[in-house]
C-alpha cells in the first residue's frame, strides 16, 4: 500500500515535470527575435534598501517606481528609448489649445481580481494623489502637471472632486489643465498617476499594499514583501497583454553593501547589481558582456554659498571661476569614478532630450590652460601665498563623495595653494545645514524629474526652493519663466548655460552614468532610456 502510493506520487511528479517542461519547450522561442528562452524565467536584482512604500500615490522612491511600473500600468508607458507609448490608454487627443486631454482606454484592461480597469479608477487615483488627507509627498506632481484646481485641492481650498479630471464614460478619461503643457502626456508614465483600486483601498486602509490584499493592474502582481529582505512579483494572468510577458517572476533582494552585492552577483544569486565606484574598468575587462555603463539624467556639482552668510571671497566671480577651472574633471571621471561618467562643464547633462550642449569656453581649453587661467584669476582676486584662500567644503557622508571631495581639495591645494577643509555630515544634518545656508561650499546633485533641460536649470532661478547657493540673476529668471510656455526653448537654455559659465555660481563636476552588472542571459534591458524606466515584461532570459 505504502509502496504503491509512493510510486504513484513519484510518477505523478514525473508527469507533472514533463508537462511543465514540455510547456516551457513549446514556448521556448522569443516571439520576435527567435532566441531560445531559458526554462527558468526568474529575474533577481539587488535593492540598496527596503522599499518605503508600494502605494503608487505615496511613492517617491526610484526603486519603488521600478516595482510599481511592473505592478501597475498607467495611461502611458515608455519604450526602450524613452518615447511615450500607449498603456491603458490606447490613444489620446488634445483640444482647446492643448488644455484638454482626452484618453481612450482599452476595454480589455483588467485588475488582478478580474475587475475591468475603467476611467473611474484613474479619476479616483488622481484625486487621491492630490487629496490633503492622503498627504502624499509627491502630491506636488499633480500641481506640476498643471491639472485644473490641482494646487487648490492640495491647499485644501477646494474638495478633491473639483480636480480637473473626469470619467466621460468607462473608457474615456478627460483631463483639464490650467495652462497648456507641452509634455503633459509624457508625464502620465509616472507612478504617482497610476490607477489604484478603490474597493481594495477602502477595505484594507493602510494595509492594502500587503501581498495578500493588493489588487493591481500591471503585468505582475505582488506575492511577497519582507521589508528589509525581499519582494517577489509574479506574472499577473489577468493582465491584458499577459501573453507577451516572458519573465514569470521578479525578485528583489535588499543588500545594503555594494561590495557584498557584487560578491553575491558573482556567486550567481543575482542577475543585476550596481558596480562599486572605481571597479568598472576592471570588471569591463574581465566580463565585457556583463558590465554596462549608460548615461543618466543626473548631475553632480559643488555650490558656492552666495547668500549673505557665505564667505566674502565667493562673491568675487574670479575666485569662483578659478576654483572651477582648477578642477580636473577628467581625473575625477577617469581615475576616481571610472564608470564612464561625463566630465561636466554645463549644469544640464548632455543626454537630456532636446538639449544641445552649448560651447562654453572653458570646456574647450586644455586642463593646463585652465590651470594657468585659474592661477591668474585667483591672483587677480588678491589671493596667494601671502593671503591664502581657505574655506570649508561640505558633503554628506559617503564613500564616493569623500573620494571626490578629497581629490578636488588636493587639486586646489596643489595648483592654487587653496586650503579646502573637508567637512562631512550625516545626511539629514547635511540637508538642514545646506538648506539654511550655513555652509561655504557644499556638494549638490540633481536627477531630472522629467527629460527636459528645465528640470535642471530651474534650480538656478531665484524663486527655486532647491537653490541652496541663493544664486540670483534676473536674465536667467526671465528666460526660465518664458520657457514654461514657449515651444522653442533651446536657444534660451543655451543662453542660461552661457551665463552660468560666465558667473560660475556652481562648479559642475560630472554627469552621471548608470553602471551595472547584468547577467548576459538577461536580455531586453533598455539602456537607451536615460530615465531608466524599465519594465520587467520587456525583459527575458535566454538559454545558455
Amino acid at each position: 500500500m505504502k509502496f504503491t502510493s509512493i510510486f504513484k506520487m513519484a510518477s505523478a511528479a514525473t508527469i507533472a515535470t514533463a508537462m511543465v517542461g514540455g510547456a516551457a519547450y513549446a514556448d521556448a522561442m522569443h516571439p520576435v527575435t527567435g532566441e531560445k528562452l531559458a526554462a527558468d524565467q526568474t529575474f533577481t536584482y539587488r535593492l540598496l534598501d527596503g522599499i518605503p512604500t508600494l502605494d503608487p500615490q505615496l511613492n517617491e522612491d526610484v526603486s519603488g517606481s521600478d516595482i510599481l511600473r511592473d505592478l501597475f500600468e498607467g495611461l502611458t508607458n515608455q519604450d526602450a528609448d524613452g518615447n511615450t507609448i500607449p498603456g491603458v490608454a490606447e490613444s489620446w487627443e488634445a483640444s482647446e489649445g492643448n488644455t484638454v486631454y482626452t484618453f481612450n482606454l482599452r476595454d480589455n484592461a483588467k485588475w488582478s481580481n478580474g475587475d475591468p480597469v475603467t476611467a473611474h479608477d484613474f479619476v479616483y487615483a488622481w484625486r487621491r494623489a492630490a487629496d490633503p488627507a492622503t498627504a502624499s509627498p509627491y502630491s506636488w506632481y499633480i500641481d506640476l502637471m498643471s491639472i485644473k484646481n490641482g494646487s487648490e485641492v492640495l491647499a485644501g481650498d477646494v474638495a478633491p472632486d473639483q480636480l480637473g479630471v473626469e470619467a466621460v464614460d468607462d473608457h474615456t478619461f478627460k483631463v483639464t489643465l490650467s495652462q497648456p503643457l507641452p509634455y503633459f502626456v509624457a508625464m502620465t508614465t509616472h507612478a504617482t498617476v497610476f490607477p489604484t483600486h478603490q474597493a481594495t483601498i477602502e477595505a484594507h486602509g493602510d494595509q492594502w499594499t500587503r501581498p495578500e490584499n493588493m489588487v493591481s493592474n500591471g503585468a505582475y502582481k505582488l506575492t511577497e514583501w519582507v521589508l528589509k529582505e525581499r519582494t517577489t512579483r509574479e506574472r499577473n494572468e489577468m493582465y491584458w497583454n499577459n501573453d507577451a510577458t516572458i519573465l514569470d517572476k521578479v525578485v528583489t533582494l535588499v543588500i545594503n553593501d555594494e561590495n557584498v552585492a557584487l560578491t553575491r552577483w558573482r556567486a550567481g544569486e543575482l542577475d543585476r547589481t550596481e558596480v562599486p565606484s572605481g571597479q568598472y574598468p576592471r570588471l569591463k575587462e574581465e566580463l565585457p558582456d556583463e558590465a554596462h555603463s549608460f548615461p543618466r539624467l543626473c548631475n553632480y556639482y559643488y555650490t558656492f554659498n552666495l547668500s549673505d552668510s557665505g564667505p566674502e571671497a565667493f562673491k568675487d566671480v574670479r575666485v569662483r571661476k578659478a576654483l572651477s577651472y582648477a578642477v580636473d574633471r577628467d581625473v575625477i571621471v577617469e581615475n576616481v569614478l571610472q564608470g564612464g561618467q561625463f566630465p561636466a562643464y554645463t549644469f544640464t547633462p548632455g543626454a537630456t532630450a532636446g538639449f544641445d550642449v552649448p560651447n562654453v569656453d572653458f570646456a574647450n581649453m586644455t586642463q593646463a590652460e585652465r590651470d594657468a587661467k585659474a592661477k591668474e584669476l585667483l591672483a587677480e582676486a588678491g589671493y596667494g601665498a601671502d593671503n591664502p584662500l581657505k574655506f570649508d567644503m561640505l558633503y554628506n557622508t559617503s564613500e564616493g563623495h569623500k573620494k571626490i571631495a578629497t581629490a578636488i581639495a588636493a587639486m586646489w591645494k596643489q595648483k592654487l595653494g587653496v586650503e579646502a577643509v573637508l567637512a562631512n555630515m550625516e545626511w539629514k544634518t547635511f540637508l538642514e545645514t545646506r538648506g539654511n545656508q550655513d555652509f561655504q561650499l557644499a556638494r549638490g546633485a540633481w536627477c531630472g524629474d522629467y527629460n527636459e533641460a528645465s528640470t535642471f536649470l530651474d534650480l538656478v532661478t531665484t524663486p527655486s526652493g532647491y537653490n541652496d547657493g541663493k544664486y540670483s540673476n534676473a536674465e536667467v529668471d526671465k528666460i526660465m519663466a518664458d520657457a514654461k510656455t514657449s515651444s522653442d526653448t533651446s536657444a534660451g537654455y543655451t543662453r542660461v548655460e552661457q551665463i552660468l559659465a560666465d558667473e560660475m555660481p556652481v562648479i559642475p563636476v560630472y554627469h552621471y552614468t548608470g553602471v551595472m552588472m547584468l547577467k548576459k542571459n538577461l536580455k531586453g534591458w533598455p539602456f537607451g532610456n536615460v530615465e531608466q524606466n524599465w519594465y520587467s515584461r520587456n525583459l527575458y532570459k535566454v538559454a545558455e
Partner: protein, 309 residues
C-alpha cells in the same frame, strides 16, 4: 567563628597600623611583579616603539598622509602596490594616497582615541559602579536605573546633537566615546563590589571606623583591579573601531586625517579587488596593538592582584 574573629582582628591591625607604608610597598611590589612578566614588558616596549615610529616614521617616506600620487590615482590595484621604488612602502589607497604615511598618522589618532576614551570610560565606570555597589540600597537602585536608562537611549542622537552644538573636535569625540562606554563597566564593577563588601576585611574596616570613601579607595578598588584591567583591554579595541563608525556622523576625525578604524573599514571594502595591502597593513598595526594591550592588561592584572601577595 573563632577563626574569623581572629582574622578580623588581624586585618583591623593591619588596616589601622600600617596603612601608609604598606600602600607604597604594594605599588613597588606590583611594579616588580609586572617587570617579571616578560610578555607585558615586551608589549610596553612595542607600544612605545609604535608611538615613536608614528611620529618620526613619516619623515622616512617621500609621501605625506594627504598627498595624492597622480600616477596611481584610480589604479591602485596595478600601480599602488607596496614598493620601495615608488616610496609607497605599504602601497596606496584607491586615491593614490600613501598607506604607510596614513597608517602612521592613523596610529596616533587611534591610540589617542583608544586610551583617552577608555580612560574616561574606566574612571566614570569604576567610580560609579563601586559607589553604587558599596553604598547599596536605595542609592544603588537609583544609580543602576540611571545606567539602564543610559544604556537604552538612542545615543546616535546624542552624538548628532553634540556635534551640532559644539562642532567638530577631537575632544568631543573622546567625550562622546567615553561617556557611552562606561555603563557595562559600571555594572561589572558594581556586581563585584556587592560581593567584596561582604568580605571579612571590609567588615573589619567598617568596624574599625574607617570612612566609606577611604574603604572604597583602599580596599574595594584594589580588589576590582583584576576585572577592571581585563575589561579595559576589551574596551580599547572596541572604542578604536567605534570611532570609525562615529566619524560617519561627522564627529571627530575628518579626512584627510584618518584612523585605524577608517583605514581598516576602507580596506575591507576593497578586499575582493586585488588591493589586500589596503587592509593588511592597518589591520596588522591594529592586531599588534591589540596584543600589546592584552599582555599589558594581563600583566597589570597579575601584578595588582592583592591575593597574590
Amino acid at each position: 567563628m573563632l577563626v574569623s574573629k581572629e582574622k578580623m582582628a588581624g586585618v583591623v591591625d593591619a588596616v589601622s597600623n600600617n596603612k601608609e607604608i604598606e600602600g607604597r610597598s604594594l605599588w613597588q611590589d606590583a611594579i616588580g611583579r609586572f617587570q617579571r612578566n616578560k610578555a607585558a614588558v615586551v608589549s610596553v616596549f612595542v607600544l612605545a616603539f609604535m608611538v615613536i615610529w608614528s611620529f618620526i616614521g613619516p619623515a622616512l617616506s617621500p609621501w605625506s598622509y594627504e598627498e595624492i600620487d597622480w600616477n596611481v590615482i584610480g589604479n591602485a590595484a596595478a600601480a599602488g602596490f607596496p614598493s620601495l621604488e615608488t616610496g609607497h612602502f605599504f602601497g596606496t589607497d584607491d586615491l593614490g594616497r600613501d598607506i604607510y604615511a596614513r597608517t602612521l598618522q592613523g596610529t596616533q589618532i587611534s591610540l589617542l582615541v583608544g586610551l583617552v576614551g577608555t580612560a574616561v570610560a574606566v574612571i566614570i565606570g569604576v567610580l560609579f559602579g563601586a559607589t553604587a555597589g558599596y553604598v547599596g540600597g536605595r542609592v544603588d537602585n537609583y544609580m543602576m536605573r540611571f545606567v539602564d536608562f543610559l544604556m537604552s537611549i538612542p545615543y546616535m542622537f546624542i552624538l548628532i546633537i553634540l556635534f551640532v552644538m559644539f562642532g567638530r573636535s577631537l575632544w568631543l569625540l573622546f567625550a562622546g566615546l567615553g561617556a557611552f562606554a562606561w555603563m557595562d563597566m559600571a555594572r561589572i564593577v558594581r556586581g563585584q563590589t556587592l560581593s567584596i563588601k561582604n568580605k571579612e576585611y571590609i567588615e573589619a574596616s567598617v568596624a574599625a571606623g574607617v570612612g566609606g570613601f577611604t574603604i572604597i579607595m583602599r580596599h574595594v578598588l584594589p580588589n576590582l583591579l583584576g576585572i577592571v584591567a581585563v575589561y579595559t583591554t576589551l574596551l580599547i579595541p572596541g572604542l578604536i573601531m567605534t570611532e570609525s563608525f562615529i566619524s560617519f556622523l561627522g564627529l571627530g576625525v575628518q579626512e584627510p586625517l584618518t584612523s585605524w578604524g577608517a583605514l581598516i573599514s576602507d580596506g575591507a571594502k576593497t578586499i575582493q579587488y586585488g588591493t589586500p595591502w589596503q587592509l593588511l597593513f592597518p589591520l596588522g598595526f591594529f592586531i599588534v596593538g591589540l596584543f600589546c594591550f592584552y599582555f599589558i592588561g594581563d600583566g597589570l592584572r597579575d601584578a595588582l592582584d592583592p591575593k597574590d601577595r
